[in-house]
């Protein structure tokens, strides 16, 4: 099956600043992919490249096997909700659905209608007067009713309060199932992604830190409590193990260790631990 996004040595520079460097990833179809990283890590750049809003400075990117945004047919296959879910503030909710219907040959009017009704959006309401959560839902509705094969959401929940955030993600899971689309969503908060993703990419400092299925990542990462002042526990690790990051917390020092084999005395790391460890490690190296 064609991967939804495949990149090779992809890079993007703005003048002298490198936003994304040597990015090589392969995202299989049918996943809900979380793209996580601190602010300025290059998440929006990678997603902008994937939907063809920006052109790469170097390397190669293919989305669903084709060059992004190269044709109307390719555009029809990818739904995109940009950061802050921009909508036309002067157009009503109904106008946005009409826009979607006029501009997308595969438009699913029934789906759009059902979603708007279920979300309780007033079709006559101007989009500029919607709340942040409603606006995000409207933008997602327009992107979803295109009935593409891939949905790309850039920080869809960043501006939402915790309740709207949970509702949005729950709703996303539900209709991803219903439509059978692949989803890539970014966030700087791992907690949001941990709820919904089955594939994680950690981006930090413009580079890919880890990329893999959540189950695989969790299986090979361990949390090791380091007692005492020395690194005795680390010295005793199997030869194949790699310390990702060590951190001092209130209850002592802990290390996140990557190792395919079981690590004696360690507990399983959860997804938040893993993602955070890679981001912190990158931060520490800068």
């Amino acid at each position: 099956m064609t991967p939804v996004i495949e990149t090779a040595a992809l890079s993007k520079r703005y003048g002298r600043k490198t936003a994304l460097d040597d990015c090589t990833i392969r995202i299989p179809a049918g996943r809900i992919v979380g793209l996580v990283g601190p602010n300025g890590a290059g998440k929006s750049t990678l997603l902008g490249l994937a939907c063809g809003l920006i052109a790469p400075s170097g390397g190669r990117i293919e989305v669903l096997g084709r060059q992004p945004a190269a044709s109307a047919a390719q555009l029809a296959r990818v739904g995109f909700v940009a950061q802050d879910a921009p909508v036309y503030s002067g157009l009503s909710v109904a106008d946005h659905l009409r826009l979607g219907a006029r501009l997308n040959p595969g438009w699913d009017a029934g789906l759009a209608q059902r979603r708007v009704e279920r979300l309780g959006l007033d079709p006559a309401q101007k989009a500029g007067r919607l709340s942040g959560g409603q606006r995000a839902q409207l933008a997602l509705t327009v992107a979803a009713a295109k009935r593409g094969e891939l949905l790309i959401l850039d920080e869809p929940v960043a501006s939402l309060d915790p309740i709207a955030r949970r509702a949005f993600l729950h709703d996303l899971l539900e209709f991803t199932d219903e439509l059978g689309v692949s989803v890539v969503l970014s966030s700087h908060l791992l907690g949001d992604l941990a709820q919904v993703c089955d594939h994680l990419i950690v981006l930090a400092g413009g580079r890919v830190q880890i990329d893999g299925a959540v189950a695989d990542l969790v299986a090979v990462h361990h949390r090791l409590r380091l007692d005492g002042p020395g690194d005795g526990a680390l010295d005793a690790l199997p030869a194949a193990a790699r310390v990702v990051h060590t951190e001092r917390t209130a209850s002592g020092r802990t290390a996140i260790v990557r190792c395919a084999d079981p690590v004696p005395g360690a507990e399983r790391a959860d997804l938040e631990d893993v993602g955070l460890a890679y981001m912190m490690a990158t931060e520490a190296h800068r």
């Binding site: 945004a69 109307a72 555009l75 036309y88």
Partner: protein
């Protein structure tokens, strides 16, 4: 795409149509009055009153016609500012480009449809205004006989169509590059104003090489000039305009038949006190002067050259805009 273009443009379209209706009604009223007064005061004037009625006619309509002309020159500017500049800049500024460019319509097609629909509307509105004003002011223009004057040339017949196409394309491209609505509007206003000053001042008279001819100093020559200056070694005719032509010079030195400069001493020979007799006397001195000008029959070639040049410029700008959205635009 056409639906969306119309949906986003309809407010501006209503404003333009409402403005056109108001101005159009006034121009029809003005045109009818000018026609009436022209027939009554110019064509059928009593010989004793003719000079008075001519002056009244000129004074009464000079202002309104000039004002309507100035407004017509401003219309393409307004179109560039209020239709062109926000077209892309507002989308980029409010980030709705990321919404609309991710529907199943390529950016090139998005811009092409917008340019075509709004560009056609810009040309139609300006064209309708120009048609109305050209009709409305036709008797006055005939009377004033100065259709090459910068304000008249740019506010009659087909040139406004070229300006409209140019200003709209300019606005769109500036908006694409600057990405800020208000800044784009200001830049478009500035650039359009400069172009409208520079082209008549330095470019238009070079469309075709001017013609130079020797004109005999006839008795009626002073009716077409602003003044006459002389000194012991030379004499000059100031601001002479041969009827219907566009003068390329402000001052013409006057010569005798044998080519020697005409002088103040010679001029004094004819100064007896009665203007008509003095002029007849001067005419008999067999003088001539050289006159460089664009002939009146070049009015239409000049109209078409200027319109075509602006249209080509608009097309180049549009092509650049399409290339830009395809290749260069980047999300920040």
């Amino acid at each position: 795409m056409i639906w969306l273009t119309w949906r986003q443009f309809r407010t501006q379209a209503f404003v333009a149509v409402a403005g056109l209706v108001v101005v159009g009604a006034y121009l029809v009223y003005l045109g009818l009055r000018i026609r009436h007064d022209y027939t009554a005061g110019i064509v059928n004037c009593l010989p004793s009153d003719c000079s008075t009625t001519r002056r009244t006619f000129s004074e009464r309509y000079e202002g309104p016609v000039a004002l309507a002309g100035a407004l017509l020159i401003g219309v393409p500017g307004l179109i560039g500012i209020f239709w062109g500049a926000p077209l892309a800049a507002r989308e980029l500024e409010t980030k709705t480009d990321r919404l609309v460019w991710n529907q199943s319509v390529t950016r090139v097609r998005w811009l092409a449809v917008k340019l075509a629909v709004l560009g056609a509307a810009a040309i139609a509105v300006t064209g309708a205004y120009s048609l109305l004003l050209t009709w409305s002011a036709s008797r006055y223009d005939q009377f004033a006989g100065d259709r090459f004057a910068a304000m008249n040339f740019a506010a009659r017949n087909v040139t406004p169509l070229g300006y409209a196409a140019f200003a709209f394309a300019l606005g769109t491209v500036v908006g694409l590059l600057v990405r800020r609505t208000v800044a784009s509007m200001a830049i478009v206003a500035g650039v359009f104003a400069v172009v409208q000053i520079v082209v008549p001042a330095v470019a238009r008279d070079h469309f075709m090489p001017p013609v130079t001819t020797n004109v005999a100093f006839a008795a009626d020559v002073m009716e077409h000039a602003d003044g006459f200056g002389m000194n012991p070694t030379s004499a000059h005719l100031i601001g002479y305009t041969m009827p219907g032509t566009w003068p390329m010079q402000g001052v013409s030195q006057v010569y005798n038949a044998d080519g020697t400069p005409y002088t103040a001493a010679q001029a004094r020979e004819c100064m007896k006190g009665d203007p008509a007799e003095d002029m007849a006397c001067t005419a008999e001195q067999n003088l001539h002067f050289s006159y460089t000008y664009q002939p009146g029959h070049r009015y239409w070639p000049f109209q078409w050259i200027e319109t075509a040049a602006y249209t080509v410029l608009a097309a180049l700008l549009a092509a650049f805009g399409l290339w830009w959205v395809r290749r260069r635009i980047t999300l920040r």
